[in-house]
């Protein structure tokens, strides 16, 4: 029978996880499928039912509900369902109904199990939990490492080439003019051989050698050679080259093996550039390092502000090079902190030395090493206890305003909640700061804490770290013993919940409402950060970064086996969706935001996103249960709130 002509196979091959199956498997699935039509509002299965088939939506739409009757998910053409409980051999935890007239394909359990055994990608897809996310997160990073990046990506410009008869002095002048550290030496030729190439002048050339600044030093100057000597007499003729489609890794090995610093990159035989060992080092670390050194060289706020375009470019490059969210976050945090440090240096130059020692601390995402490209300002000043408000505050106010305006000029929006050092409340001596934190922890109140959440991510970026450390220690010591504080923080962390996922071009909300975009920060990364912070506070962690906090949490018994990893992958995945979305915005000349449109999410990505939201959802529910507010405390808080409003 000519299955290959069948529509079934065609359709399956367009949707995950079938899209990557081998042809033989598609044929088999298409020939063993069973089909049934369901008018709108038919029941497909009820909770508790035993499921023996994987279901696939050929046309129409299906709604999956929890036992409680709450909407769990809405599915459309190409989606699969009913397989998780089937594969685990347990009764259905959900019920499913058609929303529209639908045609459903059924695949028997035995067939799906056989497919899982044979095809790892497929089984990874249908296996539940963080496993699938993990695979996806790892794939991102595999795709971009040194092994798969081609060396031509490191070539930034054409090589400077001279003929071997050129005098050394002229060659050196060329190197100066193009500010390069190496030249290629070529000779015209009429013979064709392995090193001949056709130049842009349509003549044939022979690559005969290379001259580097090091050659000039060790061979020319050291031996007192006449600057008019032709290049051909001193150049190195031992040419080690690499083909442009080799991997960066291979290029690096070639250099190390041959002990050379410069490596001509050839496209077939034509030189297309020269790669230096430092290019690779730069590629491998952060291109942002160069930006950072540039920041410290700026002599004015204007100079710093001009660099903000470069910050964006460096961000896009990092993302395109496949950096993970930790690398991107750290790079952006380093850049942001460097800008603040430089601003403070410039401010001190203008205002004179500070009257008493101080520490400038950043709060929130910058403190966590997780800012994104559109982060706004969150900072505060801790002053030595010798601070005398009347005598000293004028200085610190001016300094704080200088930093605030400087950062605004560099693209960091002013904090809407006025959590900035320019606000006198957040410009206080250490003793006052200690009392702030004691108040928050000893006498918590969710509303009160809502705006102070961000103070529990704090790091010193400039000045005296001894003024910030005691605060971090205070938090780590006391928070674990303040159940009411943890409960209040947990309650706040539950204020933002993830959506269910996507349905066609909509985001599906719990109550079944549709929206046409999703704020991936508000609905994804931020609630996850909040959640991890609560657990980190509970276990006395001093870490600020979400991943480092998860490491600390993992040393305790706070979370069930495997949950830590799931949170880690969910956070990485959500962060990367956000980061890539912002990089795409910048590349298409739009202002980067956090609003991801379902249209821009691939079918595979949808499944992963949905799963990350699920991880967050489960973790939130656990948190609510783990840090309950004692009923008497709740009454007390309510009456206090009432007391304040009257």
């Amino acid at each position: 029978m000519s299955i290959e002509q069948l529509e079934i196979r065609e359709h399956l091959s367009q949707f995950a996880p079938f899209e990557e199956l081998a042809d033989e498997w598609l044929d088999r699935l298409a020939s063993e499928v069973e089909i049934q039509y369901f008018p709108a509002e038919s029941t497909l299965f009820e909770t508790g039912e035993e499921l023996t088939e994987l279901r696939y939506i050929r046309s129409g739409a299906v709604e999956v509900k929890r036992r409680s009757g709450h909407l769990f998910n809405r599915l459309e053409e190409g989606d699969i369902f009913g397989y998780v409980d089937m594969l685990r051999g347990r009764p259905a935890r959900y019920s499913a109904h058609t929303l529209e007239d639908s045609l459903i394909y059924f695949f028997p359990k035995a067939l799906i199990q056989e497919l899982c055994d044979e095809d790892d990608d497929f089984s990874e897809f249908v296996e539940a939990g963080g496993q699938r996310l993990k695979t996806r997160v790892e794939q991102y990073h595999r795709e971009s490492d040194l092994l798969t990046t081609r060396v031509r990506r490191l070539v930034v410009r054409r090589p400077v080439m001279v003929e071997s008869t050129t005098p050394l002095q002229t060659a050196a002048q060329q190197m100066r003019e193009y500010s390069t550290t190496s030249l290629l030496v070529i000779d015209p030729t009429t013979d064709m051989d392995a090193t001949t190439f056709e130049g842009q002048d349509e003549h044939y050339w022979h690559l005969v050698g290379m001259l580097t600044d090091r050659d000039c030093c060790t061979r020319v100057v050291a031996d007192g050679i006449d600057p008019q000597t032709p290049v051909g007499e001193v150049m190195s003729t031992r040419l080690v080259t690499v083909q442009s489609d080799e991997s960066v890794y291979e290029a690096m090995l070639t250099m190390l093996r041959n002990n050379v610093q410069h490596l001509p990159v050839l496209y077939r035989r034509r030189p297309m550039g020269i790669v230096q060992l430092s290019d690779i080092v730069r590629y491998e670390t952060h291109s942002s390092l160069y930006l950072v050194s540039n920041i410290y060289h700026q002599a004015s706020v204007d100079g710093l502000a001009r660099l903000s375009g470069e910050v964006r470019q460096s961000f896009v490059r990092l993302v395109n090079d496949g950096a993970n969210s930790e690398m991107v976050g750290r790079a952006l945090a380093t850049i942001g902190r460097s800008i603040i440090r430089r601003l403070l240096e410039l401010g001190e130059e203008e205002l004179g030395a500070p009257p008493v020692p101080y520490a400038f601390m950043v709060l929130g995402s910058m403190a966590r090493d997780e800012p994104t490209i559109n982060a706004d300002q969150d900072h505060a000043l801790v002053v030595d206890d010798a601070f005398d408000s009347d005598a000293h505050d004028r200085y610190f106010e001016q300094l704080a305003v200088f930093v605030r305006e400087g950062m605004a000029a560099c693209g960091y929006a002013r904090c809407k909640g006025d959590i900035m050092a320019s606000n006198p409340r957040w410009r206080q001596p250490l003793s006052v700061w200690k009392s702030y934190f004691n108040d928050w922890m000893d006498d918590p109140n969710p509303e009160h804490l809502l705006h102070s959440n961000i103070f529990f991510d704090l790091t010193c970026v400039y000045g005296e770290n001894r003024l910030v450390e005691p605060l971090q220690e205070l938090i780590a010591e006391r928070a674990p013993h303040r159940p009411l504080f943890l409960a209040a923080m947990a309650r706040n962390a539950l204020g933002r919940t993830p959506p269910l996922g996507f349905f066609r071009t909509f985001v599906v909300e719990k109550d079944g409402e549709h929206k046409n975009s999703i704020n991936i920060k508000r609905r994804g990364t931020a609630p996850l950060v909040d959640l991890v912070r609560v657990h980190a506070l509970a276990c006395g962690s001093k870490a600020q970064n979400t991943f480092l906090r998860l490491d600390d949490i993992n040393k305790t018994q706070l979370l069930a086996e495997g949950v830590n990893d799931k949170l880690r992958y969910a956070f990485e995945f959500l962060s990367m969706v956000r980061i890539r979305h912002q990089a795409m915005d910048i590349e298409t000349d739009q202002e980067p935001d956090n609003n991801v449109m379902p249209d821009n999410v691939s079918s595979r990505e949808r499944h992963h996103l949905k799963e990350a939201f699920e991880v967050l959802n489960h973790a939130q529910r656990f948190m609510a249960f783990r840090y309950p507010i004692p009923p008497d405390a709740e009454r007390k808080m309510k009456s206090k709130r009432k007391g304040r409003s009257t």
């Binding site: 089909i35 007239d101 639908s102």
Partner: protein
Amino acid sequence: MRLPHWKSRQRPNWPDYLADRAKRVRHPMLKQFFSEMRLDPDRPIGETPMVAFDLETTGLDAGRHDIVSIGLVPFTLSRIAMKESRYWVVAPRRQLSNESVTFHHITHSEIDGAPDLGDVLGEVLSVMKGRLPVVHYRHVERPFLDGAIRERLGEGAVFPLIDTMSLEARRHRRRRWVWVRRLMGRPPASIRLHESRLRYNLPAYQGHHALTDALSTAELLQAQVLTHYSPETPLKTLWS
């Protein structure tokens, strides 16, 4: 053809006809086929095994044209099992014209070496055995199969079937309001397979492959019955 009440508006008395045929036909293959096709007119459609079938032909006139492919999809109201579906390309005894090639995409080379319908007829009838056939537009499938069998076995085979096109026509062509629509200049609703399917939110398929069309017909019947009738509807209200 010896069909009771064939031209009348009344539906034929199929049980009597089938019993009569089972007695009269001489060829053992047909005798078995008819004797196993015991279809109670009051039997609910939801309990009836069916088989969707589709023929691709060299043209529309059973007298001049011939069958080139056959698709069979056994099913019930609740399941279509592709594993049991069958498809054959057969060599037409009459010439394959170039126009028809562009229509059903079966080429001369595919037909070279294809068996004669007579060689696969046993298999075809055994898949159909005991199942109520379902077609879209019976006025092609019925006379073509009847003619082809008559040519090979010396006697024909006409049997009851469900015609999804006529079920669709009942809703869209035989109502009084259709005339009102026509008076108002609205075109009648199309009852072709593709257009009919779209009314039930069934996916658009590439037509004119006997197996795909048979599958399309099976899906359409499920949709029609579940939308306008019910699994309890007796066969007699559906067949023709």
